[in-house]
Symmetry: C2
Subunit: 646 residues, 2 copies
Amino acid sequence: MEKLKKYMSVKDEDHFYHQGAVELLIFNFLLILTILTIWLFKNHRFRFLHETGGAMLYGLVMGLIIRYVTKSPDVESGTVYECEKLKSGPSTLLINITNQVYEYQYKREISHHNVNGHQGNAMLQKMTFDPSIFFNILLPPIIFHAGYSLKKRHFFRNLGSILTYAFLGTAISCIVIGLIMYGFVKAMVHIGQLKQWEFHFTDCLFFGSLMSATDPVTVLAIFHELNVDTDLYTLLFGESVLNDAVAIVLTHSISIYSPKENPNAFDAAAFFQSVGNFLGIFAGSFAMGSSYAVVTALISFMHLTKFTKLCEFPMLETGLFFLLSWSAFLSAEAAGLTGIVAVLFCGVTQAHYTYNNLSPDSKMRTKQLFEFMNFLAENVIFCYMGLALFTFQNHIFNPLFIFGALVAVFVARASNIYPLSFLLNLGRKQKIPRNFQHMMMFSGLRGAIAFALAIRDTNSQPQQMMFSTALLMVFFTVWVFGGGTTPMLTWLQIRVGVDPDEDLKAKAASQSASNLDKNTTKAESAWLFRMWYGFDHKYLKPLLTHTGPPLTSTLPEWCNPVARLLTSPSAYGDPLKDGDTVYIINNDELTENYDSSAHLPVPAQDSTGSIQATGKEDIQEGDLGLGGYKLQLQHTAGQPQKNSLA
Amino acid sequence: MEKLKKYMSVKDEDHFYHQGAVELLIFNFLLILTILTIWLFKNHRFRFLHETGGAMLYGLVMGLIIRYVTKSPDVESGTVYECEKLKSGPSTLLINITNQVYEYQYKREISHHNVNGHQGNAMLQKMTFDPSIFFNILLPPIIFHAGYSLKKRHFFRNLGSILTYAFLGTAISCIVIGLIMYGFVKAMVHIGQLKQWEFHFTDCLFFGSLMSATDPVTVLAIFHELNVDTDLYTLLFGESVLNDAVAIVLTHSISIYSPKENPNAFDAAAFFQSVGNFLGIFAGSFAMGSSYAVVTALISFMHLTKFTKLCEFPMLETGLFFLLSWSAFLSAEAAGLTGIVAVLFCGVTQAHYTYNNLSPDSKMRTKQLFEFMNFLAENVIFCYMGLALFTFQNHIFNPLFIFGALVAVFVARASNIYPLSFLLNLGRKQKIPRNFQHMMMFSGLRGAIAFALAIRDTNSQPQQMMFSTALLMVFFTVWVFGGGTTPMLTWLQIRVGVDPDEDLKAKAASQSASNLDKNTTKAESAWLFRMWYGFDHKYLKPLLTHTGPPLTSTLPEWCNPVARLLTSPSAYGDPLKDGDTVYIINNDELTENYDSSAHLPVPAQDSTGSIQATGKEDIQEGDLGLGGYKLQLQHTAGQPQKNSLA
């Protein structure tokens, strides 16, 4: 008997290890399938199903197989046991069963209605992994990559519009969805579909905030592949990146918001507290992310006496860069802030300062590493979304609620894009045309963030219904709108095959050292940003990178000893290096718009791939946007693209 | 009340997420510290504490802090509850506590003696992570990287010796440790230290097999940095790589071995079954790993009509390469074989075939990716080992057992190296000198694999004692022997600063198209390997890569239609490409020893970093050995190294 038990234990153990391997193998298998499919699609220039849509489809099929092929072997799991001795749920439970102690780990508190027949299927349970893996491991690389690969020149030119869409637009979207859903919930109560449990207005707002996180990854990939108009691309990309951050903080604030007495009544104090929370969390996360990036920049910039610079060891540099950026996320989470926002701004700041200090080897390494992690994480999430439709065990699909969500999402997107575009066009010199507005309306896809926010807590019935609905919305928008992007572009007659540096070239060609352009560019942006760039160029860039004028020339004279200490030797000194610096400054995509249009660069057509290029090369690389797609699509991009659309 | 509970639940949830972030943050922090320390050490040419030793030290300090600073908040966790209703432990337990259902997940079966006071410290528990993470996630990249970066030329020249040390040596070591430990255990029983529980001979053998896995990562890093004699490096590296595989399979076989009646008696049938198991698992894992690599080679080689080759999309190619290699590991584990062995041979095969098919971009990407993953995984494991000394809650330190292990490990290493070296020197043309033998004896460090094997199951008391002892042995060998490597090299008067291609250059310089070298090289290796290389060069390489002679010329004439289909267009055709192929063949580090010594390359000193180099560059890159260290150390390697030793 003793022997048998020991044997059994070894068997279990083995079984356990293989299980872990099997689950990972399933994901690997799905990802391999996805990659092969992408390859196939790329060969056939098939753009109606993006890789993420494919990943989702494969996940769906796999989920179906797991759900209906694997059996529930564990009959006892569905039973609820009474335990009168305990007062609350301890984190570890030791249970003596037939004289053998078993250790059980606390997983979650579940509602009575969740105790259903599927409870015991170990395979299903293993496949539904911990939401904290999403937040701590899969999302950070995606968001960081978005920040790191921001097309800064175009981004900052459209910053005002992007911020308006992201902050104001997301708030509008959240409120509109919340209100419409509240109407539908009231109707459901009226019909009698929501008898047993409550669905508060805060729940509706919560749903509104999570459904406001747009994720047009499919659309952006197609835009990039077809070289769609850069301003449209930047507007959409910038909006979606910042909008995620806003939606996440909004969701967090709403979940904290708790009116004292009646959850349906409007409590002004609690509301303002929520707004305060929102601002506090956003600012705190921003500060956390940027400061980690500044620390990285300082470390990679350090030139202590007798110390070899870190850039002599690309592996250490890459490692430090990776770990500090991830730490920005984790510290923010640990401090009760929003990691996603922190890691986003960490990415932006890293790209702006640290990137310039990295060795050429590390520049390549970091870019490829984050690209690769982004690619994997994205496809894992979309596979998992497919899987979740069948493996998640507590779905609540309510047709009315789903229909309501569909309506709400479209109304909310429309009341975000059109009114704001109208307002923005009043102030913008370069108007946002009608067809761009329609395209932005059409590109309101929902993706990873909405899913991740919905899966974070699925214990109560309202939460389960919201999760199931959010999942369906992701499927619907990714497949229908993602697939419809190319026809829509043709229909709206949006330019494709645009050279992103077209405007620069035009400027360079037309100008003859006149300051005409300088003025027009300046007029486009607000004075606040001009001030910031002046400060950044004069003080921060020289302090944190090897570029910019030496601090000795920008700081007042009495600061000279300190300035000399803090300036990189490469920033001044011998005339050759000085010339180099001027060159770099003039090529800087930020500076060129605000300070020194007299030296606007004419991007050489053959400059890509040359290793000798110093500052220019780096900045152009930093300006790649979705670098991953660029690299993947290098080949196809060289071939006539317009034909394939016609 | 209802509200309070809801509020509590949200709090818990939040707390939970932050916990996950805090744990990861601790590891990030330790790794950042480690990287900064490595940087410091590299600047000061400090070689007495390797990065892994540093990582372990930081882990130790952090473990100490976590252990004694964080309190056990969960008083109820130490209590064992009775549950008469259950017959066995279900995978999920639903428990009704004060009318609220909590879900608990099965973690493990624990012995009564493990229920101690530390049980409830949630922080300690969170920090001791699942051993399956080691096996499924952290180890594969390390082992794959070892296989992928094998210095093939030197490895195959010493293959006989390496195989002898790895297979015969590990078996000897396992048996010697097992016997000595059995003696100590008997003594302990005699003294009365082992009264309550049994310690079988199979347990001793199990300990022997896990302690036989050497991991001289510290020594090899220093060897690489100082450019120690390549043959010594290769012997040690090859031995340690294969020896891990052997030790793992051995451990697995011993844990399966279960004599029917008396566990101390020698059961011939069970023994032979174990040997059979060993051979079967080894061969199966080898086949699994190689076949995944062959599939990768075929996919990356595919040149279907109308299909763009996969190498046009470096990201997809890298992704596929990564996923298929990891799948080799996971499939082997899922099939009940040994993943480590599979992934090792997958790495070797990938380097031999697939690497040649990759685009230049993917070659860089894969190498840097695996290097980076290896670097991170290695340091995580060593940090974790440091942590485990204080966070693992069921240590059993027995001075006599630890002393016994120390003695056993040294006696076993001696009875592995010296007798086998003596035997090998009888057959070797180029003898293994005395000082090399001493250095190999000295380099018998224990590391990640021994630890991972010991932590895999720590439920019974013998297992706990073995785990605690193994952990101490890792600390001792890494710090004492790792730190003593440089003085030992000086003391043993082993050459440093050796150019790994010295022998090639000497050959190239001395020969004038004579076949002298060819014969001596041939004499060094057995006929079996010559046959294999003939086959590989004539059939496998042309089939799986773009190199080698066209199959049409190597296969019999009647196979021509098939051969033409299977051969890459680049393997024959226009004279220019043909010349290229010949060049590649002649530069192949395997081929050059066996087939075409007439065209031996003279490695150009300035060839590194040039992008134009076609086949040659790739192969030289493939021959970098521990590429990561090479890259890290590029700078220091350029400076006079011998002085720092004197």
